[in-house]
């Protein structure tokens, strides 16, 4: 029971990241009609925004270690500590959550630049060409990251106060042995919050209404004298921000390295297809569903029954769904069914 619950939480966590990336992918596909293979790279860039922010905060000065008097020993002391003392240390401790402040504008800019600079020229091209050019872009972004940060994963710790585990067991009456890392709980909360705010944005604001109308019938909205294109560009930026924040917050869970974008991209694409091309709800639901399925499949009870199932379950589900229900779980009839 404990194990199942634990894996359920793990799955929801992973599913949160999947859902956030898949949500952005679907938004871009639904609005611009572009299949963006570089979306995983945006997730990667987000994670490295957090890494860079932390590195900048911990820029240090070499000073003499006062505790060693026999010879000159140097220790590194961050400038922030020198300038602000305790407050500075606290800021460094909270680097990952604080990095969101930087991540959002950076990712927005990157997203807008990407759309204006490259994607715009590919609206009229075939899907195959869109896939290929964004695939190339993904390689380029990934290699740039590798050039600057190296090939090894970079540990990016969460704030001290939440680095331990939460006593989830005692909250719900399952005993004290059932604990779960705080940061993962926070990630789950954050991903849910982002997903709900994206939906709120699309459903409660005029802007969102226009975007949804444009997704449904772009030409008609353009006839009404609305600049759909500009709105869609902003949506691309929004999708980049969502992926970036998802990446930045994921950094403490999985130390970022340069190919994490590709790893997540393949799975997210599968999720978009399972959920239904162009269906936002489908993407979110399929994200959580596949995350949970993957975690449950990695339990020892399951994997001893069907060895290797945890490695392939996602792809297996995708193959079955694609063959039996071409438009995915919640896809609209007639959209990309071919």
């Amino acid at each position: 029971m404990d194990a199942i619950l634990m894996q359920l939480l793990n799955g929801l966590d992973k599913g949160g990241a999947y859902a956030l990336i898949a949500l952005g992918l679907t938004l871009v596909f639904g609005t611009l009609g572009v299949v963006n293979f570089a979306h995983g790279a945006l997730f990667l860039l987000g994670a490295f925004c957090a890494v860079t922010f932390q590195k900048i905060l911990t820029i240090s000065k070499k000073i003499l270690d006062p505790s060693i008097t026999y010879f000159d020993a140097y220790i590194e002391q961050p400038y922030l500590e020198i300038w602000f003392g305790e407050t500075g240390l606290a800021i460094i401790d909270y680097a990952v959550p604080l990095s969101i402040i930087v991540t959002i504008p950076t990712m927005l800019l990157i997203g807008l630049a990407m759309e204006r600079g490259l994607i715009r020229h590919f609206y009229k091209r075939t899907h195959a060409e869109q896939i290929l050019v964004t695939f190339g872009l993904a390689i380029v972004l990934q290699e740039i990251i590798r050039h600057f940060f190296g090939a090894n994963p970079i540990p990016t710790p969460a704030p001290d106060i939440v680095s331990g585990s939460a006593a989830v067991g005692t909250w719900i009456g399952l005993g004290e042995n059932f604990v779960y890392p705080w940061w993962r709980l926070i990630y789950l909360a954050v991903s849910t919050a982002i997903i709900s705010s994206v939906f709120a944005f699309l459903h409660l604001t005029t802007f969102g209404m226009v975007v949804r109308a444009g997704m449904y019938d772009r030409q008609m909205v353009a006839f009404l004298g609305i600049n759909v294109q500009r709105k869609f560009t902003i949506i691309f930026g929004l999708a980049a921000v969502v992926a970036g924040v998802a990446g930045a917050m994921y950094a403490p869970i999985l130390p970022p390295d340069y190919h994490m974008g590709m790893d997540f991209l393949v799975i997210s694409f599968v999720i978009v297809v399972v959920g239904g091309m162009g269906s936002l709800r489908g993407a979110v639901a399929a994200g959580f569903l596949l995350g949970v399925l993957q975690s449950l499949a990695s339990m020892t009870a399951v994997s001893s029954l069907l060895p290797g199932i945890d490695q392939i379950i996602i792809y297996l589900v995708a193959v079955v769904i694609l063959l039996t229900r071409p438009r995915g779980l919640m896809g609209r009839k007639g959209v990309m069914e071919d």
Binding site: V35, L132, V266, I312, D338
Partner: protein
């Protein structure tokens, strides 16, 4: 004389094409010598990946179906070949036969399922299958694939056929073709002959009614269906054929270096063959080979350059200029070769989606137009 030759080239009957192609491939050690690409290792890579790309082109070039999972067949081919070396004999023929057959079978299974959908769904289905195979190779299939270490030859492999005819020699045996060693140039010539055969088959397919049907599917599949022809068997056949080509290439990789690893099956490896095909020219006969040549050659050069080489290269500049150029160029060479590859890929897709072959024909057209204009203006003057 020149005109006659040009006419001969234009006519391009099957025989002249294949003869010229064969001559071109077999003389590669001579005409690649001036650009420093004349050593067996690189030449072998040229021809082996040439087979892979020619096969991929039969699927992507003719039908337009973008498969993201072709590296699976390359990997399966390598594994099958190494197992044949381990269990049966060090002769390369059975290995190639098994590799082609097994990858053909797997291609039939994957193709049967994936070909139910088209467009982006097909790409994602093949990608999903590729990831499945890749993940399985590292988990459940470890007894077959030997996991991350890769499958290697061992001293005490059974090698039934070899040991039946002769006593095992001391040391690790090497692959051979009835006594001909597969190292160095003899390995290259062997692979080159296989490439010529493969190219001949591909050319025959391109110019056959079957090939026409595939091209028709690419241009308008709906119309094909409305005229009452079932496209599915043709698509699946094309998929199987290109899978077998990939398996053959995988087997040759194992022939020249008897080692098989799962990293050959990663989806980025599939990306590489797409890249080669597109760089040269999708759907053209020679394009993929051109792409393979360029990419493998550049990879070979770029990945060996390091900072000291760069400093030497830019040493004619003043000191600040040298440092500046080295700082700019160094991310693109050595370890950063993939960055160059990505940039090259993007440039090609953005500006020249038909690949280099399209670029050539564009230049040719412009040249011809200019010539016609010249003659016209001459005649008006008179």
């Amino acid at each position: 004389m020149m005109k006659q030759l040009m006419n001969l080239l234009k006519k391009q009957s099957d025989l002249t094409t294949i003869l010229m192609f064969a001559a071109g491939v077999l003389t590669m050690p001579i005409w690649l010598d001036p650009i420093g690409a004349n050593y067996p290792d690189l030449l072998q890579k040229f021809v082996i990946f040439g087979i892979f790309a020619v096969g991929y082109n039969i699927l992507f070039g003719l039908t337009g179906y973008l498969s993201f999972g072709h590296a699976v067949f390359l990997g399966v081919g390598s594994y099958a070949a190494v197992w044949s070396f381990k269990l049966l004999t060090m002769n390369v023929l059975p290995a190639m036969l098994f590799a082609t057959l097994i990858s053909g079978l797997i291609a039939a299974a994957i193709g049967f399922v994936s070909m139910r959908r088209s467009g982006i769904y097909f790409s994602i289905l093949t990608l999903a299958f590729a990831q499945m195979f890749y993940n399985l190779a590292y988990s459940v299939l470890i007894p077959i694939t030997n996991g991350e270490t890769g499958l290697q030859l061992r001293m005490h492999d059974p090698r039934i056929i070899d040991n039946y005819f002769s006593d095992p020699l001391p040391g690790l045996p090497s692959t051979d073709f009835f006594g001909m060693s597969m190292n160095g140039y003899s390995g290259f010539y062997f692979c080159a002959v296989v490439l010529i055969l493969a190219f001949y088959i591909a050319m025959k397919i391109f110019r056959s009614p079957f090939g026409m049907k595939l091209k028709a599917i690419k241009s308008n599949q709906h119309r094909m269906r409305y005229t009452g022809s079932d496209t599915r068997p043709y698509l699946i056949t094309a998929f199987i054929i290109s899978g077998m080509f990939a398996g053959l290439a995988g087997a040759l990789l194992a022939v020249t270096d008897p080692l098989a690893g799962a990293e050959r099956m990663q989806w980025t490896a599939s990306g590489e063959v797409i890249l080669m095909t597109i760089l040269g020219g999708v759907g053209t006969l020679y394009g993929p080979l051109l792409g393979v040549g360029i990419i493998k050659y550049l990879e070979n050069i770029f990945s060996t350059i390091n900072e000291s080489v760069l400093q030497q290269f830019f040493s004619f500049l003043p000191q600040w200029g040298e440092n500046f150029m080295v700082a700019i160029v160094s991310p693109f060479v050595g370890e950063g070769w993939h960055l160059t590859l990505g940039v090259l890929f993007m440039i090609i897709i953005i500006f020249l989606p038909g690949g280099l072959m399209e670029g050539f024909s564009r230049i040719q057209k412009r040249y011809r137009k200019a010539k016609i204009n010249d003659t016209q203006s001459d005649s008006t003057k008179e």
